[in-house]
């Protein structure tokens, strides 16, 4: 069966003055996925998500939500099945957590029972009677997630949801986000500038750089881009290099190591025997892998922050 995309953007572009914040973006978010939208600060993540939610008007291009092209007329109808948390949580500080959710529950038209349910999910049930102005930043962030979860929408759009959370809160938020597709059938789009965060949460990833989508696929596919090499360290680099060349192996020098392409175990064993037979002491034989960070940096540019 063909994969259904809950979000599809076609040539999505946003220009402020002469600056193109988002440039011809073709984003595809499959149903049931946790889609990590990754990019350095200022890459255009929030602008893209705002355009998907109709909060910013695209300069060019179109957005298809739940298989229907979004326009001014059907926007509210399509967004009825979405929840969102953009940049920072929205709240009325003079009202309690429960009252804040009551407003959104009324606007969403869902059952009042869901208020308690989502408060329990984000562990704010005990603080529901407190004014939100007295909440910590982490609690406000969790209230924002609770608000997004109200009505248990098909699609949840979370922009940097772990901002302001402590390490335990971050871990908790990650676990919650990961569980949403299986527990509630919710497709999640989560943006972050932290690769490690997306790596732990998402199964699909889109990497944006200077407004352009430079990579989009499954996270597993991104991992497969990782380049594997064998690193050798011996007591006699000159003879080692000569022997490697005699065997037709391309080697590059990196400090005390020679980096050679990945090869099967038998061949490595044979190579090691040959080096020892020539009186070379073998100190290290290691498998090296190009990390996700390296891939990310190569896609987004070294100057970008992680």
């Amino acid at each position: 069966m063909a994969e259904t995309n809950l979000i599809e953007t076609q040539n999505l572009t946003k220009q402020y003055g002469k600056v193109r914040c988002v440039n011809t973006l073709h984003m595809k978010v499959p149903e049931g996925a946790v889609y990590g939208f990754l990019g350095p600060n200022g890459a255009g993540k929030s602008t893209t998500l705002k355009m998907i939610l109709g909060l910013a008007k695209p300069t060019e291009g179109s957005i298809t939500l739940f298989g229907t092209k979004m326009n001014k007329k059907n926007r509210m109808k399509l967004l009825a099945d979405t929840g969102s948390l953009i940049e920072s949580p929205s709240y009325y500080g003079h009202l309690t957590g429960e009252e804040n959710l009551h407003i959104l529950q009324t606007l969403k038209g869902c059952s009042a029972k869901e208020i308690d349910e989502v408060l329990k999910i984000v562990r704010l049930y005990d603080a529901r009677q407190r004014k939100v102005a007295h909440y910590s930043l982490g609690m406000k962030q969790r209230l924002g997630l609770a608000a997004a979860l109200l009505g248990f929408p098909r699609l949840l759009i979370l922009d940097e949801p772990t901002n302001g959370l402590d390490p335990a809160g971050i871990q908790e938020m990650r676990e919650l986000i990961c569980s949403l597709p299986s527990s509630y059938g919710i497709t999640v789009v989560v943006s972050s500038h932290l690769l490690s965060e997306i790596d732990q949460m998402a199964d699909h990833v889109g990497i944006i750089r200077k407004g352009e989508l430079v990579y989009q696929n499954t996270l597993a596919s991104l991992h497969s881009h990782a380049k594997q090499q064998i690193a050798l360290r011996t007591d006699n680099p000159a003879t080692t290099l000569l022997l490697l060349r005699q065997d037709g192996i391309e080697a590059e020098k990196e400090s005390d190591y020679f980096l050679i392409p990945i090869m099967d175990d038998d061949y490595i064993a044979c190579l090691c025997r040959r080096l020892i037979e020539h009186g070379i002491s073998l100190y290290r034989v290691e498998k090296r892998e190009k990390s996700l960070e390296d891939i990310f940096l190569s896609l987004t540019g070294k100057e970008s922050s992680l």
Binding site: K50, L55, K57, A80, P89, S90, Y91, H94, T106
Partner: protein, 250 residues
């Protein structure tokens, strides 16, 4: 309707009604002080004098009061950064409309309280006869129109600017303009001159007797145009504010 109900729910604990009452209480205190111990001729024309005085007081105070009301209603959204959430659930236009209607209801209640207080005070002081219902109702309607037009102007500013100092300064400036207008004219096409134009009673000061005579106004064509202008401002401010609000990006 739901959105409108929620507007009142949102201002829970914001003491909006109390703020309005506190501002009105300045007028109440003025009434208790200024109208005490009326002379016979003052009792005779008391009901007309009351309409005249209230239009002057409103003219000076209401631009500022409207700016405070609009700011109280809009500020909660700016502080909590709520538009980006609300606008995924309701159109920006309907949110603006609900806010505007909420403000209009508060204004209507505020002026009802004002009239109720001063009518009771008039009876207490022993004003001759009864208030002329026709003129009092017309005055109430015109008072609403002129102040709602100012409220719409202030709401547009308060909804558009996150920094509430801008609309509040505009409101204070409006009060100053209204005060200046009172020295030079009996009607004005400016939005802050609405109370002046809508005043149904005029006064004539007799230097020799040192007695003011109050009479119901007969509107000349330019004065009538100034009254019509109040309604034009009302529509212009509402439509402009709504367009500005719906076109901006969150």
């Amino acid at each position: 309707m739901k959105t409108l109900q929620l507007e009142f729910y949102k201002i829970k604990r914001r003491k909006v009604f109390l703020t309005m009452f506190a501002m009105l209480s300045v007028q109440f205190l003025w009434g208790l002080w200024e109208l005490r111990n009326p002379k016979d001729w003052e009792l005779e024309s008391g009901w007309r004098a009351l309409l005249y005085s209230l239009s002057l007081l409103d003219g000076i105070m209401m631009p500022s009061v409207m700016s405070v009301l609009a700011s109280r209603l809009a500020d909660i959204e700016h502080k909590g950064n709520t538009y980006k959430q609300l606008e995924t659930l309701r159109s920006a236009g309907s949110l603006y409309h609900a806010k505007a209607i909420c403000g209009c209801i508060i204004i209507a209640l505020m002026f009802a309280a004002q009239f109720a207080f001063f009518i009771l005070l008039g009876y207490q002081l022993g004003y001759v006869g009864h208030p002329d219902i026709k003129y009092y109702l017309l005055s109430y309607a015109l008072k609403l129109a002129s102040n709602i037009s100012l409220f719409f102007l202030q709401l547009a500013l308060s909804m558009f600017f996150a920094n509430q100092m801008i609309p509040l300064v505009a409101g204070l400036g409006g009060s100053m303009v209204a005060l200046l207008l009172m020295f030079v004219t009996t009607y004005s096409f400016l939005p802050w001159g609405g109370s002046l134009s809508a005043s149904l009673v005029m006064s004539e000061w007799n230097l020799d007797t040192r007695i003011s005579t109050y009479y119901y106004r007969t509107f000349s064509p330019p004065e009538l145009a100034a009254v019509i202008c109040i309604f034009i401002w009302l529509i212009v401010f509402y439509v402009t504010g709504r367009i500005l609000f719906t076109r901006r990006e969150v």
